[in-house]
């Protein structure tokens, strides 16, 4: 009982920090920045699930982030236009609302995160059934991100091209630039992140989670236990895509823009970097990695712009070589070392670094 309570204490501490301390201590625009990081953290949580737990290194999460983001942005744009054409269509010479946009007029927000899921299911089912995995899967998802961006940019009349969709006047009845709205959006984002974290943690601890780890460490062996790894992976991939979609859907009202440059190869990789630095095998590591790395990126580029690339690259090389289990792994090592000195038996066996 007390162990269970202790297990929840860190979560509660973080919740208090995010929900009480941060809103009180931070000025509005810093809180808005933090909200942006929390959006990335939601997407990172999905990567932690797919990659850390399931061994699927997805380098195309930007695609799902984008699907969620564009769906929300389309809804907001239509809402702003109030029956007319959205502003960018006017510049692009579109004369009639494209059919693709129509469904987003009404239930846009509900659709937002959901759009990513069926896309991931179809893609996952195709790819995993054929046992495309490991580096192949990674490269394929990366190419998908590249192709998705090209497609978005090329359809300027539909998507706003490189500019993306921006300039929303009304976010669910409120002015998106007002401090009150930003505060509310921050709380919503933090709440969604907390709920998804708890859900993901439950998933990891469930039998399905154990199965997922088994698939990661020995996909072919799992097949001979009577499970179809393709199904397990597809489900996980879809959950992870759903999280990225939701992150994108929240990102749009928080930051006020969605554009292809947020979804391509590099932003997708940066999310993975954050997860690796935070610790891929621990969900909390993924979340915190995303928050810290994005915070570091912002504050570092305020000081020394070109240096960030050196730092990001070097940090990454160091983490991969010296601490492949990331910050969370270092923390666990330190804790185990401490426990050994106190004489309590350390829990053995770390996950092996998964081959493929």
């Amino acid at each position: 009982m007390s162990a269970r309570l202790r297990g929840h204490a860190p979560f509660a501490a973080v919740a208090v920090l995010l929900l009480v301390v941060a809103p009180l201590a931070l000025p509005a625009f810093r809180l808005d920045e933090l909200a942006k990081y929390l959006c990335f953290a939601i997407a990172a949580l999905g990567i932690g699930l797919a990659w850390g737990q399931g061994g699927m290194l997805t380098l195309g999460q930007g695609v799902f982030f984008g699907l969620g983001g564009y769906a929300t942005a389309m809804y907001l744009k239509l809402h702003d236009a109030g029956g007319d054409l959205p502003d960018f269509m006017v510049w692009s010479g579109v004369e009639e609302l494209p059919a693709l946009w129509r469904p987003f007029g009404a239930a846009g927000f509900a659709l937002a995160a959901v759009v990513a899921v069926p896309v991931a299911v179809v893609l996952g089912a195709l790819v995993f059934r054929q046992r495309v995995r490991g580096a192949y899967f990674a490269i394929l998802t990366q190419a998908l991100a590249a192709a998705f961006v090209i497609l978005l940019v090329g359809q300027q009349g539909l998507t706003g091209g490189t500019n993306g969709l921006t300039n929303f006047y009304d976010v669910f009845g409120r002015d998106p630039e007002a401090e009150g709205t930003q505060r509310t959006l921050y709380f919503v984002t933090a709440g969604v992140l907390g709920a998804l974290y708890l859900g993901a943690r439950q998933l990891v601890r469930s039998r399905f989670g154990r199965l997922l780890v088994a698939v990661r460490d020995g996909e072919d062996r799992v097949r001979f236990l009577g499970y179809n790894p393709a199904t397990v992976k597809t489900v996980t991939f879809a959950v992870s895509a759903g999280m990225a979609g939701l992150a994108g859907a929240l990102f749009v009202p928080v930051v006020g823009i969605i554009s292809p440059s947020l979804l391509g190869v590099v932003p997708s990789l940066e999310l993975v970097v954050a997860v690796a630095v935070g610790g891929r095998y621990a969900l909390a590591g993924a979340v915190l990695g995303a928050i810290v790395m994005n915070y570091a990126k912002t504050s570092f580029s305020e000081q020394w712009a070109g240096g960030w690339l050196y730092l990001e690259g070097a940090l990454f090389v160091l983490v991969m070589t010296l601490a492949p289990r990331g910050a969370a792994g270092l923390y666990e090592q330190a804790r185990d070392a401490l426990a050994r000195r106190r004489g309590t038996p350390a829990p053995a066996a770390r996950p092996r670094e998964a081959a493929t």
Binding site: A147, G306, G313, F316
Partner: protein, 292 residues
């Protein structure tokens, strides 16, 4: 009609560029399971080698740079293999992320060393002409790239098939453990493989100065396509890479001719994905009895 015919040599030449950029990867990825995202930056190193040699070799910098770039990029690759990658064998995904970090550092280093704007590499005059070929025209630069690609393929083929070192490399490629117990120093073979694979990127980088920009971010333009070639061709398969590069080059050429450049890229990607549905391991597969 002639312009349609023109697309055939164009397809070949696009294929040659793809092949040159992907050739080194079939080695490092195929034999060693290293997904080297810094491969593009080794291309860049080759291109800048040509730029630096201009001071010394003048207009003949491009041909002079070929062997030098091979050594420069090869040395970079060798250092990378010795310092980092050798700790990562059997973990391709980790090498992917590791080398991406390296590629960020190399890009920024190039920016700091050579400046952010593109630099100019002057092509020798004998590479600026063109030949007519029954209605189609083919620039000398393109012919040079094609010849270079053929030379590289033949060279590698001869090396793998004829030389002692090459046979060792093939042995390691097919069965690392068996090669190790048969007395092949796999560590040394790995070093050499990585050196050659990276060196080939350097050669490709020199060739690319004839047709493309020379700047800190050129690696990023070629890397995704290069990986698609390797994936479609099958790991470590020379003939797979050759066929895949030519097929994708042709596909790109005609898809762009009938649609546009953006759509052609999307079409190429879709075809590769569809192809992997049929042959998940690429065109040619190395068989292994072990349960991986």
């Amino acid at each position: 009609m002639t312009s349609l015919l023109n697309q055939l040599p164009i397809g070949l030449s696009i294929g040659a560029v793809l092949l040159l950029t992907a050739l080194g990867l079939t080695f490092t990825f195929g034999q060693m399971g290293v997904v080297n995202m810094a491969h593009g930056e080794f291309l860049m190193a080759g291109a800048y080698t040509a730029y630096l040699l201009q001071d010394w070799a003048g207009a003949q910098a491009v041909p002079v740079a070929l062997p030098v770039a091979f050594l420069v990029a090869g040395a970079l690759g060798w250092v990378l293999e010795r310092t980092a990658i050798r700790h990562f064998y059997g973990r391709p995904l980790d090498t992917l992320l590791l080398t991406w970090g390296v590629s960020l550092i190399l890009q920024q280093a190039a920016r700091d060393l050579f400046g952010a704007p593109n630099v100019q590499v002057v092509a020798p005059s004998w590479l600026t002409g063109r030949v007519g070929l029954s209605g189609a025209t083919l620039p000398h630069a393109r012919l040079f790239i094609m010849a270079l690609a053929v030379a590289c393929v033949v060279g590698i083929w001869a090396y793998l098939g004829r030389s002692r070192q090459g046979r060792r490399m093939r042995a390691v490629m097919q069965n690392r453990e068996l090669a190790a117990v048969s007395g092949v120093a796999t560590g040394r073979v790995d070093q050499l493989t990585f050196f050659i694979g990276s060196g080939l990127a350097g050669v490709a980088g020199v060739a690319l100065t004839l047709v493309g920009p020379v700047g800190p971010s050129i690696g990023t333009y070629y890397i995704v396509d290069a990986f698609l070639v390797v994936v479609a061709g099958g790991l470590g398969q020379l003939r797979g890479a050759v066929i895949a590069a030519l097929a994708l080059g042709m596909l790109n050429s005609f898809a762009e001719f009938w649609t546009d450049a953006s759509l052609a890229k999307v079409v190429v990607f879709a075809v590769v994905v569809a192809f992997l549905q049929v042959r998940p391991q690429g065109l040619f597969v190395l068989r292994s009895r072990a349960l991986t």
